[in-house]
Amino acid sequence: MFEKYRKKSPWILHYNAGSCNGCDIEILASLSPKYDLERFGVVNTGNPKQSDIFLVTGPVTYRSRERLVELYTQMPEPKVVVAVGSCSCTGGVFRDMYNVEDRVDRYIPVDVYVAGCASSPELIIDGVVKALDILESKTKEMEFAKKLQNKPKIEDGIVSRKEMPRRVGENDEES
């Protein structure tokens, strides 16, 4: 009944992993009165523990990669990562530099890639709206996993993870 309201409140965490600040300015522009991302319920929280969408800009530098992974792990499930700008998608002009790790998805899984140098606010808004759909499907997947944990469906061939070690042990005893 309330399913459709689930994706109406995405809170954004914005992290600059060594970008030239071009994309950051565009992200802030898309939150500003002219483009107004808040009409989708978006809030720029700045706190990983309370956010759903992780906006990463820039190529990953050696200095920022640990923080990037730490921020990602501090976000509660379900979460979506949006790589904003050419640098975070592919490495861009910084590719193969001695202090740069090319792109974001070498460290954390990325769901939406937003191209452009710098990405325009319209593209960023499109990316965030796309991320909302992914967020909704991830929430459904999480619910499915919870159901499986409570009631494993062995007849379907899907076994819950809670059951798995025990079954492996049983088979060993038999053989």
Binding site: Y5, K8, E38, G41, G46, N47, K49, Q50
Partner: protein, 274 residues
């Protein structure tokens, strides 16, 4: 009976005020803004989120903050003693300060320190407001104050002092140093997540109900004046929130204690001798 319904629906009213406020603030900035029911969508989402438990006391203190605030609002609606209400509200603020100190995060500690400083700033004024009501109406009971004709003219300076502390309680510019969203990332609420943050989020709504229900005590028994006060102060607070920058916490204490306490003491002296 109607009191029970009002008490049960108090968080819903607070959520509606918060939702309307976000739209009003957006319209003041010439943008569309979120839907009015946005706070309820937020809580619905927070229910589904994974929750990290830092330590059990941290989560428990957050929930206690919400529960005591609800009790405070219930006491206001039932018309209990104004002094009880103010001191119980102090207890709920102390819970969130303790929660902030119970984790290792440095931002949480800074936020709790600032929260304590703001309590130092606004608590004397709240108590003096209660004393002012006692001197003009003759009772601390909220019931009696509500049935008495409006005393806003003889309490004019106390009313101004009370206006000063509304932005502190609602965490609004220029007095939002204790929360400071981009500076110390929410202060004492930084380590809350998922369902535990939801309690803090709803406590914020109850804070709205509490402060605005204290505000309409100034209107006495006149419903029209109460509505006017509520709408007027609501607009003024949001206008000031949109148009000012954050002041440092030391300046906050200086401004609020310096201006607010002087205004309320002058008013009390005036009530006593004139």
């Amino acid at each position: 009976m109607i009191e029970m319904i009002l008490i049960l629906l108090a968080p819903v009213f607070g959520g509606l005020i918060y939702g309307v406020e976000r739209v009003v603030r957006a319209r003041m900035q010439n943008r569309q803004g979120p839907p009015i029911l946005q706070p309820f969508y937020d809580t619905y989402k927070l229910m589904d989120k994974q929750a990290f438990l830092v330590n059990p006391y941290h989560a428990l203190l957050g929930i206690m903050h919400f529960v005591t605030l609800w009790v405070v609002v219930a006491f206001v609606i039932m018309g209990e003693n104004l002094l009880y209400v103010i001191f119980l509200h102090l207890l709920s603020s102390i819970f969130i300060v303790l929660a902030g100190f119970s984790v290792k995060s440095i931002f949480s500690h800074i936020g709790s320190n600032r929260e304590l400083l703001t309590i130092v700033a606004y608590e004397p004024i709240l108590i003096l407001v209660a004393v002012g009501f006692y001197m003009s109406v003759g009772s601390f009971e909220i019931d009696v104050i509500r049935e008495h004709p409006s005393e806003i003219l003889s309490l004019a300076f106390l009313f101004l002092a009370f206006l000063l502390i509304i932005p502190i309680k609602l965490k609004k510019s220029p007095f939002d140093a204790s929360e400071a969203h981009q500076e110390i990332v929410g202060g004492a609420e930084i380590e809350f997540s998922g369902i535990f943050y939801e309690f803090l989020y709803m406590a914020k709504w109850l804070e709205y109900v509490f402060i605005y229900s204290l505000l309409i005590l100034f209107a006495g028994d006149s419903l029209l004046l109460a509505t006017l006060l509520f709408v007027g102060v609501f607009l003024v607070v949001n206008l000031i929130d949109n148009s000012t920058a954050r002041v440092r916490v030391e300046h906050l204490v200086k401004i609020v204690l310096g201006v607010g306490l002087t205004l309320s003491l002058v008013n009390l002296v005036w009530l006593a001798y004139v």
